[in-house]
């Protein structure tokens, strides 16, 4: 008698837990050749709201952790991702219909980017900050501080590397993230959340929603408790309306990026989610 394979139930990742969608909805995820792969949870606006609440409550701890500590935690994600390399390659092969070599290249690139961004965690302040010259006996220091809760619409044409490229830089500076994964390729995103939950990332720092970005994005854009909106993967949505909704609460908004490697790694992706704080301190006591 042949064994029946045990299929995985793909759920959301909110506040360090794996809830089903509050709405109870799922949608079919198909392989590149049109075969059924799995049912993924279809997040509703209330799941998005819960995710923002989780991200907000995780913000204080994560943003107050030292850059050195955040770097270690991000590095740890890469370590665990490396251990699950084979699983991610399998998932990408079946979801994207690419060769095993191409899938392996994508997973390796995703792991390398975690490492690259982890390295920035205790260095970006030195590069983006400044000791300003002022006309008096004062230290005048400008330092980048995290923006807060960042909502991300992940690149839609990539299973893993697009998601990692959009999420990792926001985490470096101490922001917390609510990310809407690729609608067509959501399974690797949920597998990534299994990596996150077993690494040292506190619950709520990353929250992953699967479902329709067109349905969820307007609620995140108009949410008054979201501080920045990264529309990197929202090119096919009515993103001008999202910008207008976000403007109501003075949210930082970053426009969609197109091309093969949307959200290519750069220091700018780290510093765009920071606010500059300038402090004065007297020199006279020295």
């Amino acid at each position: 008698m042949s064994r029946l394979a045990v299929l995985k139930t793909y759920k959301l990742y909110i506040g360090g837990k794996f809830p089903r969608s509050e709405s109870g909805r799922v949608y079919e995820v198909l392989s590149a050749s049109g075969d059924f792969l799995a049912n993924a949870a279809k997040a509703s606006r209330k799941d998005a709201r819960d995710a923002v609440v989780a991200a907000r409550s995780a913000l204080s701890g994560w943003s107050k952790a030292t850059g050195y500590n955040r770097g270690q935690v991000l590095y740890r994600i890469a370590e665990l991702l490396e251990g699950r390399r084979a699983q991610f390659i399998d998932e990408i092969v079946s979801a994207e219909g690419v060769s095993a070599a191409a899938a392996a290249a994508q997973v390796d690139e995703a792991i390398d980017r975690w490492i690259w961004y982890a390295g920035w965690a205790d260095k970006y302040v030195q590069v983006a900050g400044n000791a300003n010259a002022v006309s008096g006996p004062f230290f005048n220091l400008s330092v980048p501080e995290p923006t807060g809760v960042v909502a991300v619409i992940a690149p839609q044409d990539s299973s893993l590397v697009g998601l990692v490229s959009a999420v990792a830089p926001a985490l470096v500076a101490g922001n917390t993230v609510v990310v809407v994964a690729s609608e067509r390729l959501p399974l690797s995103a949920i597998s990534l959340s299994e990596v996150l939950v077993t690494s040292d990332v506190p619950g709520g720092v990353v929250n992953i929603l699967t479902g329709s970005p067109a349905e969820i994005a307007p609620w995140l854009a108009s949410h008054a408790d979201v501080n920045a909106l990264d529309l990197v993967g929202a090119g096919s949505l009515d993103w001008v309306s999202l910008q207008i909704a976000a403007a109501e609460t003075l949210m930082r908004v970053f426009a969609p990026e197109n091309g093969a490697d949307a959200a290519a790694p750069s220091l700018a992706r780290v510093t765009q989610f920071t606010e500059t704080k300038t402090v004065w301190h007297t020199k006279s006591l020295l």
Partner: protein, 319 residues
């Protein structure tokens, strides 16, 4: 009760009250908490909740300034929306009553006339571990300072030891200490501290005891002991109040306090009140929420209903 009121007759009466079906009570509470309250019903519920809140600050670090900002918040919960109702009362420690009265000024008064009452905790709150003389002085002091309502704690140690008569006499004495110079009485809320009573049977007995002794309100908890207010305990106390009303025609109030932080939870209590005691209980003279952080969550929900998008903590005051 029939016969003279003695320690033994009180004990016989309270111990003769039928036991509580704990599983049934919890299932009933869970069922009441599963109702879906949306759109206009939700808007009504949120406004009702605000008008039933005893906005509370009971910290050792309280200052006159904190009490003044509490009063300002109670008068104008949402500075951006004039249609937002006022809270029912502010609840403070006894020594803070004069500052609350002063900050309220002309708005000090009954919520029916658009005012806000001042409630004070007394009788060596939250433990209640002081001599009766100290408890009575504590109470009389708060009443003289202008408190409209007194939240007293029962002696849980005496209650759990079965000395019901002592608890009864203390409530009666505190009630007398609530008497003002003009002969009127400050409202007396009796805190049972259900988290320390251990069983539902005890909660039911303590509720009857507090009502028999003359309490105007029965209140779940001080908020200093976990578990504080829970829905099953509140449903049980509402049932006692309902039974008392059927027996005597007198309406006693109920105040769950402590641990109710989300609008969603508060709405469950509103449903429980309407379904257990009756909708006429949903008014400040008969039902209150003892809460501090609940108000901000209700305001966020109100803003969501008004604007259509989710609001955030930046749009309500920091308390």
């Amino acid at each position: 009760m029939g016969g003279d009121l003695t320690e033994s007759s009180l004990k016989r009466y309270l111990n003769g009250i039928p036991g509580v079906d704990a599983v049934g009570l919890e299932a009933r509470a869970a069922d009441l908490g599963s109702r879906s309250i949306k759109t206009t019903s939700k808007a009504w519920a949120l406004d009702t909740i605000i008008s039933l809140i005893d906005l509370t600050t009971l910290e050792g670090a309280d200052t006159p300034g904190k009490v003044r900002s509490l009063v300002a918040k109670g008068l104008t919960p949402d500075a951006g929306d004039v249609s937002c109702p006022r809270v029912a009362a502010v609840c403070v420690y006894g020594d803070m009553v004069p500052y609350a009265v002063e900050a309220l000024g002309a708005f000090h008064g009954d919520s029916v006339e658009g005012g806000i009452n001042v409630a004070a905790v007394a009788t060596a709150f939250p433990s209640g571990r002081a001599s009766l003389a100290v408890k009575l002085a504590d109470t009389a002091d708060a009443v003289a300072a202008g408190a409209d309502e007194i939240d007293m704690v029962i002696d849980r140690g005496a209650f759990l030891s079965g000395r019901y008569g002592q608890v009864f006499d203390e409530i009666v004495a505190v009630k007398e200490a609530c008497r003002r110079a003009d002969g009127s009485y400050a409202h007396l809320k009796v805190i049972l501290e259900t988290g320390e009573l251990n069983t539902y049977d005890n909660v039911r007995r303590a509720s009857w005891l507090a009502i028999l002794a003359g309490g105007d309100f029965i209140k779940t908890s001080t908020g200093k002991v976990a578990p504080a207010a829970t829905l099953p305990v509140t449903v049980l106390m509402l049932e006692v109040v309902r039974d008392w009303y059927r027996l005597t025609g007198e309406k006693i109030g109920v105040k769950p306090a402590g641990g109710i932080r989300a609008s969603k939870d508060a709405i469950k209590y509103v449903v429980a009140v309407a379904e257990t005691a009756g909708e006429e209980w949903l008014q400040p003279h008969l039902f209150r929420f003892g809460a501090s952080s609940l108000l901000n969550d209700v305001l966020l929900q109100r803003q969501k209903l008004a604007t259509g998008h989710y609001s955030g903590a930046d749009y309500v005051t920091i308390d």
